[in-house]
Amino acid sequence: MINKNSPVILSINDLNASVEGTPILKGVNLEIKAGEIHAIMGRNGSGKSTLSKIIAGSPDYEVTGGDIIYQGKSILEQEPDQRALAGIFLAFQYPLEIPGVSNLDFLRVAYNAKRKFQGQEELDAFDFEDLVREKLDIVQMNPAFLDRSLNEGFSGGEKKRNEILQMAILEPTLGILDEIDSGLDIDALRIVANGVNQLTRSDNSFLLITHYQRLLNYIEPDYVHIMYDGKIVKTGDKELALELEESGYDFLDLEVAIG
């Protein structure tokens, strides 16, 4: 939902980044206001997943220029956990399996870290379980998954639903979904998208990273950006995604070549 008077949540200015000396991002500019849903589309290797990880603070990349301003402050020097506590959440394309850590315990530790950061009292195991059970409905998840190890042996769809469950519990101000649609069948996609839609509010915003327009039928973006060779080369509304679906990414080569 676009509201010109909403405060800016995220502002990325001329961001350059590289991995092991190879430049990946070559001057990204992006502004996201409260209440907005943005989608970034692009080919594999265009830099869109890199961008999402850099916002979350992945140590794998080196920022070589530009800045990321979140709620008015540069976050480049902040650790991933500080960014998370400040309200940034990245739903991973490939959520990690952590054997031996129970899903429920992990959710509680993460939730209480946030409560503590906000100066609130931590929830005990019982109260927290009540809270989780409520949130399970958002992604139609079976409570049995809470007792299993974090993502261990989960199917692709179950992992993605678990990411959305984490997001529902942590209630981020900026939710970044990195290819949340990859590996999902149509039913799972509907459930995941429906979960995300239940979490949108006028004071938070979302950034969807996707390869396919399909996801955007279920989560309607206010803006669609196209990323090409480490830069956002085109911005439009959801019609742009449809255009792209029709013409494929090849037209970009031509447009960029012509300049």
Binding site: A56, D60, P80, D81, L96, G100, V101, F106, A110, A113
Partner: protein, 418 residues
């Protein structure tokens, strides 16, 4: 320097029924020498520091019930045996259940005493330099003797405490556990310390006999002071249809060596070995296990997990031998290591020796570190780096800790890891 044989003779004087028992060991001791890195079995452990220390035979000290509070297992109330610096503490021990004897050799009934000495004579385990040293200096025994068909709901606790304040001492507990046919028992053998200013050396030896169709669930906790030396041998003989499991947790001592030898002396015998070792600073933990199968339909399951920090080192040498006579064996052995620092060292040697042709056997070892991707994932959910490490360490260890059937103990160990 080890106390001289004359000093040891003085020490053991007075206990006549163990003369033969001691003499066999002194023969072996006389023929063997202090192990060095040239011996294949000892090549990854540096015993120089142990060898150059001066040790005196420990003298008795008196403790009160209060001293014991933090070491007593909550789940055990009826049958407990307490030794301090190798000396039996009658006032702190208890033996309430019928059909079992939990006590020492000095105060055992005469009939039982004769039976026991005969038993020990019939079953002679292989001795190495250290277990021979233990046995030749035996003055008393810690005994658990469970009669046939007896089942006890609560665990039996064998608690060995050390306290070395004025001089460096050698403590040599000798344990005999006899589980008669069809009996079912849980046993916790634990080593702890009270305030201790001097390095001490615990050189213990446990002989365990599990009778036909009997079941023994053994938990062993080595939580010695960090300046202690802990050398131990455990030999287990399992009769037909018996079940023996051990959960071994090694946390303490500057240098720890445990030899765990198991003989499956009958068919359809189950053996389960689960271990967790945590080493930090300059600690060395050296774990040698050997399972000899001689009969068909035996099973062995072994999982040893190790966590290493700082400049510590851990040795795992696990041998399972499956000769021709052990057809239809099902054996699996795995050693997993988690290294937290570039200065730590793991020496692992999972070893299967198979000559039988109709068996199912597997073995392996893994060495890993905390993965950056895992840490990033957890941190991106708001957990600090320190919390992530704690969570991942606990996750690694929990598989073994969960095998301990006593909540109070597993909770204590989990807290220690955190």
């Amino acid at each position: 320097m080890i106390p001289t044989l004359n000093k040891i003779k003085d020490f053991t004087k007075g206990e006549q029924d163990l003369v033969e028992f001691r003499e066999r060991a002194s023969g072996i001791y006389a023929k063997s020498s202090f192990p060095s890195k040239k011996d294949e079995d000892w090549q990854f452990i540096d015993l120089d520091n142990l060898q150059k220390q001066e040790f005196e035979i420990a003298s008795p000290i008196e403790l009160t019930k209060q001293d014991l509070v933090s070491f007593e297992l909550e789940e055990c109330s009826d049958n407990r045996l307490v030794f301090v610096n190798g000396y039996y503490q009658a006032a702190l021990s208890s033996n309430r259940d019928k059909g079992i004897y939990v006590g020492n050799f000095a105060t055992i009934k005469d009939t039982k005493r004769a039976q026991l000495t005969a038993y020990l004579k019939q079953n002679l385990p292989d001795l190495n330099y250290f277990s021979a040293l233990n046995q030749l200096a035996t003055k008393d025994l810690a005994i658990v003797w469970v009669e046939a068909d007896v089942e006890i709901a609560q665990p039996i606790q064998l608690l060995f405490l050390a306290s070395a304040n004025s001089e460096q001492i050698l403590i040599q507990p000798h344990i005999v556990v006899i589980i008669e046919p069809r009996a079912k028992v849980q046993l916790l053998e634990s080593y702890h310390y009270l305030e201790t200013k001097q390095p001490y050396w615990n050189n213990s030896f446990s002989e365990i006999f599990v009778g036909e169709n009997a079941k023994l669930e053994h938990v062993l906790v080595q939580w010695q002071a960090n300046n202690a030396f802990h050398i131990a041998q455990t030999t287990v003989q399992q009769k037909e249809g018996s079940y023996y499991s051990i959960v071994e947790v090694d946390l303490g001592s500057q240098l720890c060596r445990h030899n765990l030898d198991i003989i499956q002396a009958g068919k359809q015998t189950d053996t389960k070995l689960w271990g967790l070792a945590l080493a930090q600073d300059e600690q060395t933990i050296d774990l040698h296990s050997k399972v000899d199968l001689h009969h068909p339909y035996g099973t062995v399951e072994q999982l040893q997990k190790c966590i290493l920090a700082d400049r510590s080192s851990i040795v795992f040498n696990g041998k399972i031998s499956v000769p021709q006579s052990a057809q239809m064996t099902n054996a699996a052995q795995l050693n997993r290591n988690l290294i937290l620092s570039s200065g730590a060292k793991v020496y692992t040697k999972p070893e299967l020796e198979i000559t039988a042709d109709n068996v199912k056997c597997a073995h392996g070892a893994t060495i890993s570190q905390l993965e950056d991707e895992e840490i990033f994932y957890l941190r991106s959910r708001g957990l600090t780096l320190a919390n992530c490490r704690r969570l991942l360490l606990e996750a690694f260890a929990i598989e073994i800790i969960n095998k301990i059937p006593y909540k109070s103990l597993s909770q204590k160990l989990t807290n220690y890891i955190k």
